[in-house]
């Protein structure tokens, strides 16, 4: 403890990044003059090998026991310099970074003042480093199991990848089946693969995988803990049908008296209160819709139960709370489409023949409400002219969504093409602002539609759609010709954009994930950490973080799975040891620290009558240290005395 503090200061030029605004020579001179340091060195790039070698050699040659690197932000190279020091035999927590790039050279012009400020920052950092104690990272065991929230294509892919890597996965899905929006699509651009045909094998793989625990009709209700050790509560809502007994005979739906809208078919067809979402649903079982069933009460109606020969129906099922621990979490909660009810200029969704893109997917689907024959909802006639309106409620900061949803140009092109394939003499007209086809083979797909398949593209926005007899009058403008256009259409399809799903909004509150201004989850870094959230151990895949097409969603899911597997692969994780410690000789047991701790990490050990810190729970915020009336609880390497000395050095240095 009383060994002489031998501080070495290493100043980085960062090429010209620092050196052009900070006078390095003068800075080194100032530091030598003003502070009690053993050595001051500089290097063109401290993070380069020669720079790190200089650090290591100096530590050994001069027996340095404290090191300061005056360079860029600690977020950049703190780990680099700490491990270099460790290689030279110095405890890594005795290395501190003085940020003289992001907070000095890049933001100031006046060389003299910048140099002065850099010197003060180094002086302040010296006050910190001489008070630093050697620390050992805390080792925390990792629960080698992952949680995937959301059973769309992103969640399915992520769960399969993690399970294939050999780790257990729990996949939680709110609705009665996995598959998500992709299960509703007819065909996928640009290959026109049938969506169900490529999706359902993956759904079956999930249900058969021995490492995957699939929980449908389930919701995450609380999440606690931290990377490696999340404690999660999941509520499994009753489905009232025993998945293992149900043999899909369909006798129950024949007798069920309740008829409601079928959400899988976008309410374009009816279903019963006992139903299977779609024939390939996973798990393959019927489910009772609690909200519309006549009461889950055999005294009111038990028709389905009476006809069920295998006795799969059980009205007594109760919600179940499942508590489990996980090492990593992947959020794949997907999107909703922008409601056409919000778009007044296109009739607020009131006219049956003005439908959304997702509605049209159902009309195109072989298992849809019209068995794949395109019939318009109002009278069932095959439409002869269909208008596709791009950017419906998108790229319109004044009234609707300000952003581009990336996939609508492509899906409208696909819709037009599929319509032409089914109705050969029909006319398909696309009104667009720009056609955005960034993606592999996307431009070729658009060219095929426009040039070979005679889909008409009109550049301009549609201003209004009004009813005209049994047709619709679409009023717009052709901005290439510069004139107003009016088209009579039998059916209008609005290409609505993507918005964060309700589940995404709920999960962001639950997990404390930050969102961007549109409500999508925010990545840790938009370019370099696209599947990581700001919280360690929580990853994001697919449209929960913004509009994406299927290939991008799937690659994100695999990326997030790989990231999660990296955590699960280690038995222990190292945690920052900069946590609170109590001085029992001055502590008055007032409990103030216990009350302010957000993690419940501080408690009174009744046996020895001492306030004690649970090391595994303390995150090191220091709230307790600021609140303690007797200064008896301190944050390691961030003591009150140290911070006060740092402030003094900034002001008087």
């Amino acid at each position: 403890m009383d060994e002489k503090k031998k501080v070495g200061v290493f100043v980085c030029h960062c090429g010209r990044n620092i050196a052009q605004t900070v006078d390095i020579e003068k800075l080194m001179e100032k530091v030598r003059e003003k502070y009690d340091v053993e050595l001051v060195e500089d290097n063109m790039y401290m993070c380069s090998d020669p720079g790190q070698n200089l650090l290591k050699e100096s530590i050994q040659a001069k027996n340095l026991n404290r090191v300061i690197v005056a360079a860029c932000s600690r977020d950049m190279h703190e780990p680099t310099f700490r491990s270099a020091a460790q290689e030279a035999g110095l405890n890594p927590y005795l290395v501190e970074i003085a940020n003289i790039r992001e907070q000095v050279s890049w933001v100031h012009d006046d060389k003299e003042k910048a140099t002065e400020k850099a010197s003060k920052i180094i002086g302040s950092t010296i006050e910190k480093v001489i008070r630093d104690e050697p620390l050992e990272p805390l080792k925390i065991p990792v629960v080698q199991r992952a949680l995937v929230i959301g059973g769309g294509i992103a969640g399915i892919q992520a769960a399969l990848d993690i399970a294939d890597a050999g780790y257990e996965v729990t996949l939680v899905e709110k609705s009665p089946t996995i598959g998500g929006h992709m299960a509703q699509l007819a065909e996928t651009f640009p290959t026109l693969d049938c969506s169900q045909c490529i999706l359902t094998p993956k759904m079956v793989a999930v249900s058969r995988h021995p490492k995957i625990n699939l929980l449908t009709t389930s919701e995450v209700v609380s999440v606690d803990g931290y990377v490696g050790n999340f404690k999660v509560q999941i509520r499994k809502n009753p489905r009232y049908v025993d998945v293992d007994k149900c043999n899909l005979c369909d006798d129950c739906t024949a007798v069920c008296p309740v008829v409601v809208h079928d959400e899988y078919n976008q309410s374009l067809s009816p279903r019963k209160a006992i139903y299977i979402p779609f024939p390939q649903a996973v798990p393959a079982s019927y489910v009772i819709d609690e909200e519309t069933c006549l009461g889950i009460d055999p005294l009111i109606c038990s028709k389905c139960k009476d006809v069920c020969l295998v006795e799969a129906i059980n009205f007594d099922m109760q919600p179940e709370i499942i508590e489990e621990e996980f090492g990593a979490i992947i959020v794949a909660t997907g999107y909703d489409t922008y409601p056409i009810e919000n778009i007044g200029e296109y009739g607020y969704g009131a006219h049956p023949d003005i439908i959304s893109g997702l509605d049209f997917e159902r009309l195109l689907s072989a298992n849809g409400p019209t068995q794949g024959v395109i019939r318009r909802p109002s009278d069932g006639k095959v439409p002869k002219t269909v208008v596709f309106v791009h950017c419906a409620g998108s790229r319109d900061p004044a009234k609707h969504l300000p952003y581009c949803s990336k996939i609508c140009c492509m899906y409208s092109t696909k819709h037009a093409l599929q319509y032409k394939h089914l109705v050969h003499d029909g006319t398909a007209i696309n009104f667009y602002i720009d056609v955005r086809t960034a993606g592999k083979d996307y431009e070729e797909f658009y060219k095929r539609a426009a040039e070979e398949e005679k889909v008409i593209y009109v550049r301009g926005k549609v201003s209004e759609i009004i009813e005209d007899g049994d047709q619709l009058l679409v009023k717009g403008v052709d901005t290439l010709l510069g004139e107003a256009v009016e088209v009579h259409a039998d059916l209008v399809v609005l290409a609505t954009g993507l918005v964060p799903s309700k589940g995404t909004q709920e999960i962001s509150h639950l997990l404390k994930l930050s969102c961007d201004s549109k409500g999508f989850l925010k990545e840790a870094h938009p370019k370099l950490k696209p599947v990581e959230s700001a919280l360690s151990g929580i990853f994001i895949a697919g449209t929960a973080s913004g509009p994406k097409d299927i290939p991008e969603t799937v690659s994100q899911a695999s990326g997030a799975a790989a990231k999660a597997a990296t955590i699960l692969a280690s038995e222990f994780l190292e945690r920052e040891p900069q946590i609170a410690q109590v001085d029992p000789t001055t502590c008055g047991l007032c409990h103030t620290c216990i009350n302010v701790c957000p993690y419940g990490a501080i408690y009174l050990d009744e046996g020895v009558r001492r306030i004690t810190v649970r090391e595994a729970l303390c995150e090191g915020c220091g709230s307790c240290a600021a609140a303690c009336p007797s200064g008896s609880i301190e944050l390691k390497n961030s003591t009150s005395e140290g911070i006060r000395a740092q402030i003094k050095a900034l002001l008087q240095g």
């Binding site: 977020d75 992001e102 933001v107 900069q578 302010v596 995150e619 709230s623 911070i643 008087q652």
Partner: protein, 154 residues
């Protein structure tokens, strides 16, 4: 501190105020870094000190900063709801609001102490707040311009 005639005319009483800037590690500290990465410019009068969380800031740090020669103290942290440590910024808000009251009562001009929230992406807000505070404090005399300190005669 000598002020030139020109400065006196423009109302500048302290051309070089010293401001202690508290940054939190997760939001405002990253916001300050982003100001650098974006090559924005602000006056070099703000002297940064980084803590893990604004809730680490003991009220006496603020008071002592003035005693140690600061002309102003600026505390920046995460927006409500964004705190890395769940509720640290709420605690800081409660504690430091009392400090603000106390400082006012003992005769410190309220412009000398400011508490604000800056996210990791709000580099422009960071620059605006720091620049504003420096401009404000230039118009006040140095904190220690009279032997007792403070602005009691204003």
């Amino acid at each position: 501190m000598s002020t030139s005639k020109q400065e006196q005319e423009s109302g500048i009483k302290n051309p070089n105020p010293k401001i202690v800037l508290f940054l939190c590690r997760w939001c405002s500290g990253k916001g300050a870094d982003l100001a650098g990465t974006s090559r924005l410019n602000y006056p070099p009068n703000v002297l940064p000190i980084m803590v893990n969380c604004t809730s680490r800031i003991d009220p006496r740090f603020i008071v002592e900063a003035f005693l140690d020669g600061a002309d102003g103290v600026l505390v920046t942290g995460c927006h409500f709801g964004d705190c890395h440590y769940k509720t640290g910024n709420y605690k800081a808000y409660r504690r430091l609001s009392l400090v603000a009251k106390l400082l006012k009562q003992v005769g410190v001009n309220p412009k000398r102490f400011r508490l604000t929230w800056i996210s990791a992406t709000e580099a422009t807000k960071f620059v605006k707040v720091t620049t504003e505070m420096v401009e404000d404090l230039k118009k006040l005399p140095p904190y220690w311009s009279n032997e007792n300190g403070g602005d009691s005669d204003e």
